[in-house]
């Protein structure tokens, strides 16, 4: 569902829940009047995420002192069990601290790939680069996040996901 993907992406980029709701509602209000053919899923997704990215950037410009990790997290009753929800929430909190080390573009690419679930070619069209370059950015960013997590004291097999091979 596009709503969940857009909301998730905005929420990933902005830890303030109220602001994320505000931006998501603005995205869909604009979509209501701007999208000529909302049934064209590809065009609609591209438009929605382009608008969401622009509004997120505007938000960060209006609130430059609000770092990604500095806002208290709101609890969501997410996940099939309270334990899973709590774990997912804890991982998100740790991740947000690490996101400060990334550039805007790297955060966008990570959010669009993992949270919005877009393919590399779709992300490439959104951020104005090639599919190959998106793959490189992903690779580089995951490595950077890994280094940052390690610097924060998290190891490969701890509660941040573990190794399932």
């Amino acid at each position: 569902m596009q709503f969940d993907r857009v909301y998730g992406f905005v929420r990933f980029r902005i830890s303030d829940e109220a602001a994320a709701e505000d931006i998501t509602s603005e995205v869909f209000a604009r979509a209501w009047s701007k999208l000529r053919d909302p049934d064209d899923r590809n065009a609609a997704a591209a438009w929605l995420f382009t608008t969401a990215r622009r509004l997120v950037i505007d938000h960060h410009r209006r609130h430059p002192s609000t770092s990604l990790g500095s806002v208290a997290e709101a609890h969501h009753p997410a996940g099939p069990t309270p334990e899973n929800a709590s774990l997912a929430h804890e991982r998100l909190t740790v991740l947000r601290r690490c996101l400060d080390a990334l550039s805007e573009r790297e955060r966008d690419v990570i959010g669009l790939r993992f949270i919005a679930g877009l393919r590399n070619r779709e992300i490439a069209a959104l951020v104005g680069t090639t599919e190959g370059n998106v793959a490189k950015i992903l690779h580089r960013t995951l490595r950077k996040l890994r280094d940052r997590l390690a610097a924060d004291g998290y190891t490969a097999t701890d509660d941040l996901g573990g190794v399932s091979e």
């Binding site: 209000a29 438009w47 509004l55 993992f114």
Partner: protein, 269 residues
């Protein structure tokens, strides 16, 4: 398979919840698992979903109906070609006409309310050119027209605040689109309020990068509240605020007005 392709395939499998074995990208995939496992924390709770739905409904209801089921950016290529061709033909007809008109409006208006553009360009609209300034920004109401069906007003933000833009992809500077945010209202001396029929501003705040040209608005109000026998009406147009204005630090803010204009128009019948 290259290292990045292999990683992409593995990420797909992780997002689908399938097991992955990739020794080459082991470290990256551990982080990928962390990211994938955090997704559930980003799903909207039912209360949040309802709040957003409500907010969307309110925002849509509060906005004037814009010509804006236009979205050039989202048009399919054939539609876009037809739209561009139509705009070129329209301009060609105007330029080639023996009655070439001095009033030029962004082509985008012609595409979405040609009758309003025709009115404003036909000489039937009253040239007003009255300005008001607030917070260092001057807005001019260029011309307006009234009949028993509608009142059409065109205005221009003469000196939009400079916006250096913000770094964006490929070294581009993206500027924030300037808009009135639908804060334009029309009343008359008797206190009657005229609702929006249509409205459009150019450039549109479509989320696309904006090149910085002045904001032009064409607003179309419902004239059914004009008294049946009125020959002239004294109107008050108010623009309450501008959105998307950068302050000295480059932070995007709202600029409170108001900009208020009073003018009298004959009512065409």
């Amino acid at each position: 398979m290259s290292e990045t392709n292999s990683l992409d395939v593995a990420i797909d499998r992780i997002l689908r919840g399938e097991p992955v074995s990739d020794a080459t990208n082991r470290d990256e995939l551990q982080v990928a698992r962390v990211l994938a496992s955090a997704v559930s924390a980003l799903q909207p709770a039912s209360a949040a979903r309802e709040r957003v739905r409500h907010a969307v409904r309110e925002r849509v209801a509060a906005r004037p109906r814009v010509w804006s089921r236009l979205a050039l950016l989202t048009m399919s290529a054939p539609r876009l070609r037809v739209a561009v061709l139509a705009a070129v033909l329209l301009v060609g007809m105007l330029v080639g006409s023996a009655y070439a008109l001095p009033v030029l409006l962004p082509q985008i208006f012609s595409m979405f309310d040609p009758s309003a553009v025709e009115l404003l360009q036909s000489g039937r609209a009253r040239e007003l050119n009255i300005s008001d300034s607030a917070a260092g920004v001057t807005i001019t109401v260029n011309r307006a027209y009234a009949d028993v069906h509608r009142i059409v007003v065109q205005f221009t933000v003469e000196n939009p605040p400079s916006d250096p833009g913000q770094p964006w992809d490929n070294g581009q500077q993206a500027k924030s689109p300037l808009t009135t945010g639908g804060s334009v209202t029309l009343t008359d001396d008797a206190g009657r309020k005229y609702g929006h029929l249509r409205a459009a501003e150019s450039p549109l705040s479509s989320g696309a990068a904006w090149s910085g040209e002045p904001l032009v608005g064409v607003y179309n109000f419902d004239a059914t509240r004009i008294p049946a026998n009125a020959e002239r009406v004294s109107f008050h147009l108010t623009i309450a605020e501008l959105h998307g204005v950068p302050d000295a630090a480059g932070v995007i803010t709202r600029l409170p007005g108001p900009w208020i204009f009073t003018f009298t128009l004959p009512v065409s019948r």
